[in-house]
């Protein structure tokens, strides 16, 4: 029997177990939407966000929250180009997405037809794979391959561009059950010899340190990872994406390393003799000046992506493997060595030294007037025993990174690699759709929240009681912070309160400033959300309690943060990690 491409599309989604599609219709995707409308007993739920960028971030949040592949469906031209930022975001953080874009009919491609863009060409360098379907008979195979590629190996976004005539024309009804792509064979095992070598080095080290990246959290290897650190008595530092690999309250957890890492973590990296890294690509935000990075250490690098190994830092023992596979072997060996490891010597001294660094310069914030960001995050820690916190990008993200307690049940979802403002709200919507029972808290700045604020409507119509925290300091705070520290306090284009009527020689915020726009509490109300403004520390817990008790609509809590607060410690971009700015001159 022959069926239309659109019908096969729906059949394929069902076969892949897709329960949610994030879609925004248009002229060249209308046939696909029509088939979703016609499906029997509507197994696939269609979510209609208010903008395609919000749409793809929601699919991304859904995927990160659940581990399943997020599915986007948009029309050609602007529908497709609005996905671009979200595709790059997912690509950087290895999030499995399959994005379907409508396209003009094959006969019109290349004619500058209405709403025609070459989305495959545009996204070539920011996705794992992308293809335009030129023949109806290839459609089933291509969709099958897309889902396989997106969620195997190092996961990532895949784009399938389907011309209008492919959607409507008849062709085979079969959806393949297997894939065979000769150029794509994801690595599923690990080179035992290399891993053994790495393990032996760790055992014999005097000042070992484990660095955990997003590979550990993505593969949900929490339990094994923690066990391995305990078995080998090795202290742990994490990247932004790796935080929570070991519970943040664990005695072996030193802190985050990198640009906004703790003093102890960065000192530990600078002085360790073995840096045993798992699932990180040694991004510049982690390494700073490469010549000064872990100068005394031999480096072990376990990563699924061969291209990440020995790219940024010179690696002594490279191991190509995903975190889960490597850790199953490592914990198994350590189990066998339990007795020897029990009597391992010299580690206490090293751990004591790290602890003394932590006491010397602990992570803390002192805020004199107004609401302290640290107090907000700590109130979240106290208020819930399980959650997924979805952040935006900037100071709000870094404060969350620094102070949020994390473990297997308390997770962070954040745009780490690309640093995409506007992720926080739609990402949280996706997470809540994937995990309706979970406490989903979105942490944003007043800048980033406005980039996708229209998605409040999506949260309301879907009845998602998420908690949306807005840290309002009236500034694009992270850029302001850099201007404050490194650009002679020239606050170019970072004040969000500034109006045309403001004096040119503004001396900083005060009584004379115009009102902030929008009024987030009124905005919440106009969206039928709950709006709460918090101006004092003692109002934080009651506000979170009210949000937690809300069961139908989002609660927006606007925290009035003092404008001058900085994220510290900070290492200036390109400087060695040992050169931390610990205290700020006001």
């Amino acid at each position: 029997m022959q069926i239309s491409g659109a019908k096969l599309f729906v059949k394929a989604l069902a076969a892949e177990g897709v329960d949610t599609v994030f879609g925004y219709p248009g002229g060249y995707a209308i046939d696909l939407f029509d088939e979703l409308y016609k499906q029997d007993n509507a197994k696939i739920k269609l979510i209609l966000p208010r903008h395609e960028q919000g749409l793809i971030h929601a699919a991304d949040g859904y995927a990160r929250s659940s581990g399943r592949t997020g599915v986007c469906l948009v029309t050609s031209g602007p529908g497709a180009t609005n996905l671009v930022t979200g595709i790059a975001t997912a690509n950087y953080d290895s999030v499995p997405l399959v994005c379907f874009t409508g396209q003009v009919s094959t006969g019109l491609i290349g004619n500058d037809a209405f709403q025609e863009v070459d989305i495959i060409g545009i996204t070539r360098n920011i996705c794992k794979w992308g293809v335009t379907v030129h023949r109806r008979e290839d459609l089933g195979r291509i969709i099958k391959e897309a889902f396989y590629i997106a969620n195997t190996g190092k996961p990532g976004p895949v784009i399938i561009d389907i011309p209008k005539d492919i959607q409507t024309s008849l062709g085979p009804s079969e959806y393949p059950s297997e894939v065979n792509i000769r150029g794509y064979k994801p690595i599923e095992n690990v080179h035992i010899g290399q891993l053994k070598k790495a393990y032996r080095m760790l055992k014999s080290a005097k000042r070992p340190l484990i660095l955990a990246g997003g590979g550990v959290t993505r593969r949900e290897a929490f339990e094994m990872f923690t066990k391995f650190a305990e078995q080998t008595k090795t202290p742990v530092v994490t990247t932004l994406m790796g935080r929570g690999s070991i519970p943040t309250t664990h005695s072996l957890f030193v802190g985050n390393c990198g640009m906004h890492g703790t003093y102890a973590a960065n000192m530990a990296v600078s002085q360790c003799d073995i840096l045993f890294s798992i699932g990180t690509r040694f991004n510049d935000r982690i390494t700073g000046d490469l010549n000064e990075f872990a100068p005394e250490a031999k480096i072990v690098h376990i990563d699924i992506d061969t291209a990440s190994i020995s790219r940024n830092v010179k690696v002594d023992v490279p191991v190509v493997s995903d975190a889960f596979t490597a850790l199953s072997k490592l914990t198994e060996w350590a189990e066998g060595d339990a007795e020897k490891l029990e009597h391992i010597e010299g580690r206490e001294e090293w751990i004591d030294k790290i602890q003394s660094w932590n006491q010397e310069n602990p992570l803390e914030m002192k805020v004199e007037n107004g609401v302290s960001p640290q107090a907000v995050i700590e109130a979240i820690n106290q208020s819930y025993d399980h959650y997924q916190v979805v952040t935006d990008v900037g100071q709000n993200q870094m404060w969350t990174y620094q102070f949020l307690q994390m473990d297997e049940n308390r997770r962070l979802i954040t745009s780490g690699g690309l640093g995409t403002m506007g992720y926080g709200l739609p990402g949280a919507i996706g997470a809540k759709l994937a995990n309706p029972e979970e406490n989903i808290i979105s942490v944003n700045g007043d800048g980033g929240i406005q980039m996708n604020i229209q998605e409040l409507a999506t949260a309301v119509i879907e009845g998602l009681p998420i908690t949306v925290c807005i840290f309002n300091n009236g500034y694009l705070g992270m850029v302001r912070q850099m201007q404050h520290l490194f650009y002679g306090k020239r606050y170019s284009a970072t004040c969000l309160t500034k109006r045309r009527s403001c004096p040119e020689d503004c001396k900083g915020p005060g009584e004379q400033c115009p009102a902030y726009t929008p009024d987030f509490v009124k905005l919440a109300e106009s969206y039928e959300c709950r709006g709460i403004r918090v101006t004092k520390n003692e109002e934080i817990l009651p506000a979170l309690k009210a949000a937690r008790e809300e069961t139908k609509v989002p609660t927006i809590i606007e925290f009035m943060i003092p404008y001058g607060e900085l994220v510290l410690p900070m290492v200036k971009g390109g400087n060695p990690m040992s050169e931390m700015i610990l205290k700020a001159k006001k």
Binding site: R124, K128, V131, H134, I181, R182, G183, A307, I309
Partner: protein, 165 residues
């Protein structure tokens, strides 16, 4: 920085060439030449790529190529015995007989064909190594007032009997 060669088997599909060349521009790799053609299997194309890079970058290039879905196989030709030639046409402006005679002598020494001839032009057809082609171009530039060079990029195949390059 030195020159290195890669043979690349890729899916013979729309957009693959663009994806490969796009990698070089996106990552600022220095591409010297790229040739592409289908193989005995029409679904597979083979590219011969010449890059100029340091050791670390070259390793990275191979890894980046390898992780592409459309890339079937990456072969590093830098250190293996190969046969390698580049096709090149040179149109030389030569009106006087004495200049033409000089050109024929050069062609004979370099072992290239004279494939076309008119009153004021001669076309040479050269299938030499890239270096030898470079030498010929340099020589003709010095000796003739005007030349036009059309180079095709290098193609290479692993040798079956010799062990030297």
């Amino acid at each position: 920085m030195k020159k290195r060669w890669i043979a690349l088997y890729v899916e013979n599909q729309v957009g693959v060439l663009s994806k490969i060349s796009g990698l070089f521009s996106a990552k600022s790799y220095n591409l010297v030449s790229l040739t592409v053609g289908t193989t005995e299997d029409v679904t597979v194309s083979r590219m011969t790529i010449c890059v100029s890079s340091d050791d670390i970058t070259f390793e990275q290039i191979k890894k980046q190529l390898n992780r592409m879905v459309e890339v079937i196989k990456v072969i590093d030709l830098t250190e293996v015995p190969i046969h390698m030639k580049e096709l090149m046409y040179i149109k030389v402006w030569a009106e006087k007989q004495e200049k033409k005679n000089q050109l024929f002598q050069i062609a004979q020494v370099f072992g290239v064909n004279v494939c076309d001839y008119s009153n004021d032009h001669v076309i040479l057809e050269c299938t030499l190594t890239e270096h030898r082609n470079d030498d010929l171009v340099a020589l003709l530039k010095k000796n003739f007032k005007k030349i036009e060079v059309v180079r095709g990029g290098t193609v290479a195949v692993e040798s079956v009997s010799t062990f030297c390059r």
